[in-house]
Symmetry: none
Subunit: 240 residues, 2 copies
DNA sequence: GCGTTGTGTTAACCACGTGTGAAACCTCGG
DNA sequence: CCGAGGTTTCACACGTGGTTAACACAACGC
């Protein structure tokens, strides 16, 4: 195999294949069915990048796939999404899961250029997959989180929730948004679920750092130390 | 705390401006002439990113500009190129000079998505739709409001009311209109409710800025200091 | 099989935001 | 100067919404 292999999901046809050939990489088709079959497939390491055709597919499946590709021991290189135009909005708050995207109808030379761009850049960029914020440190590869040096062993959902909040600090999310973004599917009932997970997270953060997850009444939760609001301190508070 | 400035070269019109506004950053036009004028201009530091419209311009000029932006002591953030389709090939071997690109005709939401993507990836937090007016800044994603830099911590209804008033400055609203718009339903009695909330808002704005919400006797309230006398007239009110 | 661990649900408890009425205050016209 | 209509201010009761703990259940390992 002379040229670098690039993972194609779920298939590789038409302009996509042509673009890959023009770029000079070898397309490797991972699955010809649904997107979430790939995870089970667990292809060997050594891919230079991935092209995921999410157009016409359920978006959450594509995102789950991205997440899994990112979390492999030796993660696949840059991830490029192929999208329908209406899927653009779904990318919000998921910016960390992909590296570039193309909107259909797919243009061969644009796709090829983006591929080349990302592949070249992947060599130089040493993207430390790590989140640092207010004493919290999350290693995205080892699934470990430490607060002020102390290791907090989180469960899967706890980790995912904290990661989502911490990658978008200071931003308020409704419980519905959290359920759909972190849990990844439409959720019937159970908005309290978020509350409980937040409570558990706060417990594991310890009393000293519990305030890292803040409640915004009637809205939802957000991540961010109160140090940022140091100026706030409502000296003219109304009620009490 | 105003929204981050993004350098626009050579100009910022049409879909480009719209995309920047949607993204929540402030476009700053560096030059309205040729691309290479900007270098001489040497704009001050502090830009969150740059959008360079190379479409229709000599390509080498755009590349020179990129190079100079990259080599400043405190380099501008991510650089996004706007291109004509025929310019795609010129990008080869220059992948390090830019971070993303869009091919014309330019689509607002695609451009906005790319902007957000690269800004977020660059670790930029202050990419968010905002309202700015008379020292008041409201970040619609973090539910935070600051007046003259000081964080005012508002309750839910306070925030909603202030947001409504501030998004329609200089315009007078009757109490009934405010109730139906902000509270969101037909409200029986309780016109005093608005008064009280206005009072609480004025208290949190501080004596110095309390006048931002003005009373229009026997009509209602409006946001913004004097100057505009546009009479009440809720032409789009629901049930008045 | 059993115990363990992770996750979601339910319900009691409690705090705080919110709405209300009444009184004080202001503004304007007679 | 008075009175009426409007606005500001205050104190308090209520209910929504968040916290918390305890339980239910599935997945997994021993």
């Amino acid at each position: 195999m002379t040229s670098d292999p690039v993972l194609c999901v779920p298939s590789c046809e038409g302009p996509v294949r042509k673009a890959l050939e023009v770029t000079g990489v070898t397309p490797v088709v991972a699955s010809s069915g649904r997107l979430n079959e790939v995870a089970a497939l667990e292809p060997p390491d050594g891919y230079a990048g991935a092209v995921i055709n999410a157009a016409g597919f359920p978006f959450t499946e594509a995102m789950n796939l991205c997440r899994q590709l990112r979390h492999r021991e030796r993660p696949v290189g840059p991830i490029i999404l192929l999208l329908d135009h209406y899927q653009l909005d779904d990318l919000t708050f998921r910016e960390d899961l992909f590296d570039d995207f193309v909107v259909g109808p797919f243009d061969v030379s644009e796709l090829a250029t983006r591929l080349r761009h990302r592949l070249r850049r992947a060599g130089n960029e040493s993207v430390a997959p790590r989140i640092e914020h207010g004493g919290l440190s999350m290693n995205l590869e080892t699934y470990q989180a430490t607060i002020a040096g102390r290791v907090m062993d989180l469960t899967y959902m706890e980790y995912e929730l904290l990661r989502f909040l911490a990658t978008n600090p200071h931003r308020v999310f409704t419980r519905e948004t959290l359920l759909s973004r972190v849990w990844g599917y439409e959720y019937y009932g159970g908005a309290r679920t978020v509350d409980v997970h937040v409570r558990r997270l706060r417990a594991k953060l310890g009393e000293e750092h519990a305030h890292l997850i803040q409640t915004v009444r009637s809205v939802g939760y957000k991540f961010g130390s109160s140090g940022d609001h140091a100026l706030a301190d409502d000296d003219q508070s109304i009620g009490a």
